[in-house]
């Protein structure tokens, strides 16, 4: 009961702010709406017994990526009111396409008979998640670390001042 209520509230937050992301003409407002979506998704993670993931989502997305995006906006816009609008035709086409896509996905996901699985009873302990990360998922973990290193170097290289 409470869970349902919470789900509907958080889903509403997520969806409304996602629509806000799309509908805002100003990019910073989009970013703020994105914060709402990210927060909503984080709350959904809490509902889904993924506490650690929720915290990570908040730290990395909301605390890192979002700030990075806003920072990028500040560095790349000449005035806060510069707006690039797509043409009306493009918008209509895009809306049609995404409605089609949503319909298709919903039909696919809901219409499918998922095999009966085991539901998770309790939130996995942080320690177990960590152990899993360093045992079963060691190789992707290491690959990810290498990736991050490459990204760090690459970003620094790309954003370096012109000589």
């Amino acid at each position: 009961m409470l869970e349902a209520l919470a789900f509907y509230i958080f889903a509403a937050v997520t969806l409304v702010s996602a629509i806000g992301v799309v509908a805002s003409r100003n990019i910073v407002r989009s970013a703020v709406c994105l914060l709402g979506t990210l927060g909503g998704v984080a709350c959904l993670y809490f509902l889904l017994n993924a506490n650690l993931l929720a915290a990570i989502q908040l730290i990395v997305y909301a605390g890192g990526t979002l700030i990075l995006i806003v920072f990028g906006v500040m560095l790349t816009s000449k005035s806060p009111w510069v707006v690039f609008d797509p043409t009306r035709g493009q918008v209509v086409g895009a809306v049609i396409v995404s409605i089609l896509l949503a319909t298709g996905l919903c039909m696919l996901l809901v219409g499918n008979e998922w095999p009966a699985g085991t539901a998770m009873t309790a939130s996995p302990h942080v320690k177990d998640v960590g152990t899993m990360l360093l045992t079963d998922y060691l190789v992707p973990f290491e690959a990810a670390s290498v990736l991050l290193l490459v990204v760090m170097i690459g970003a620094a290289y790309l954003a370096r001042p012109e000589k």
């Binding site: 009961m1 409470l2 209520l5 100003n26 910073v28 407002r29 703020v32 914060l35 927060g39 506490n51 650690l52 929720a54 915290a55 990570i56 908040l58 730290i59 909301a62 605390g63 890192g64 979002l66 700030i67 990075l68 806003v70 920072f71 906006v73 500040m74 806060p80 939130s123 302990h125 942080v126 320690k127």
Partner: protein
Amino acid sequence: MSQLSLPWVAKDPAVYQTYRRTAIRNLLAGGIVHVVLALGIFGFFDLGSTAKVTNLKIAISIIGFLAPLAVGLALIAGGLGVLFYKQIGNTLKYGYTAASVFFGGVIGVCLLVWLHSLVFTLSKDMLASPQNGAEVVSLAIFDASLTAREIADYLSANLPRLSNPIVAYVLWPLQFELLRDLLAVGGIVGFVSVIPVFGIWWERKIAGRMQSRLGPMRVGGWHGWAQSPADGVKLLFKEDMIPPDADQALFKLAPYLTFVPPICAMIALPFAGAWVFRDLDVALLFILAMLGIEVVGVILAGWASNNKWSVYGAMREACQMVSYEIPMGMSLLIPVMTAGTLQLTAIADQQGGGFHTWFIFKNIWCFIAFFSYYIASLASCKRAPFDLPESESELVAGFHTEYSGFRWSLFFFGEYVAMFVVSGIAVILFLGGWKSPFPPGFALKTNGTWYVDFVVHVLNGVLFKEGPILFVLKSAFLYYVQLWIRWTLPRIRIDQVLYACVQVLLPLTMVILLGNTLWILGIEHMKIEWLGTIDSLIHKVLVLIGAVLVIGMIWIGYNGYSNRRKLVGSLVIDHLPGS
């Protein structure tokens, strides 16, 4: 000329006298009526009888008895206040009375929160009591699993002193999780609103003392204790301006984005073992995340103001925060690794054996980590010397240049609460949380007499055992250090800020992270003996250093206090014995 009657033109004192009399009359009369009504209902429904407890009476007792009683008492108190306002004012002006009112208020809020917690504990116990079997823990939102009857029975069986049916009626709704959460949120919000009010006053006093002045002295009498509430009232009535070119919606949203996350952080911040709203297993990460989101508000404020200085402030904040989050998180990992959990209560529980078991003295890595965390936390709260985003000598006021009034004060609320939160994290992770600095053997024993017990409980809670007061005191000390640093160190340049992070703090934290990993590997997993010997040696030296530091500070503080009259224009150092 027609007679203009402006509302703010002073009227004849006699008019005020009339107003006052009317107010006194109405308040007192209304209060007495309410109280009488409440007592009447009490008598009519026989609410006091233990034998006739039913669920029906719950609503009656709350709506019909408790609510009118509370309203009535409040009205009577208000009436008395207006009646005796001169006497009250004079009393408040008198130094120590005012101080005791002030501290009483602070402690009162703490006690209120404490009461919350006691009630929760009680209801939890009841729900889990053997009479109810195992299935009660399902804290449903609408299905009451306990009846008032059962509660009353439980009380008379376990806590005879509280076995009044009214208590049972009050406790009954508390088995609903939602209500308990709402009440707890009330407690948190109450505490959170006290922090900045007290904190700002304290900061101004300390700033004054550090500059050999007195700080606020007028408002409220004793040491200007009412300065902050007065300022708050002033801010509420200030004109609320929004620049015409600003992004209206974001401009309005930004202060809330700054103010709400630190309060959310309090959700996971434990004040003591049971004193926590939600004992998350990822509490630390959650708090860090909330502190990270706070920045978004600041950046938005700067951006939405559409002002050069504000944007500069926002960009500084963005790059400062993004870079300092890393050393901050990595320093926090060290006690986390040592404790093996992210759950703050569990971490604090491992430090209960006296101050030598605190993680800061655990080994050299934790010791360094404490300081690197503290520096990074200064930057993350944008406190001096890292207050670049709002540096008033360069950027007017940085990101909040365009803000005024209530919105402006929200930024400050956010900042001061965040300061408390980061101090609290440091206390829990490094300084033993709510545990006493003395080993458990020092805790006083109760002997059964109620007044002795009371004193013992208070002393244990404040000094010898554990308790939220200890936690708040320790946090307040770190908070004090933040203020101390602010009024001691000059602000550094933005490039120095980033240099300090990327080239100093980051490598340092990496080294200690690696060191701690190897240390744990060597001592706990490989059980290398000589490493263990070195470890215990270092541990002892660190404990010694800590003890010497604390004793030294107390000594210097004592000297400062005993020479407080001579301190104008000089330093405490000049008054130490032998100088």
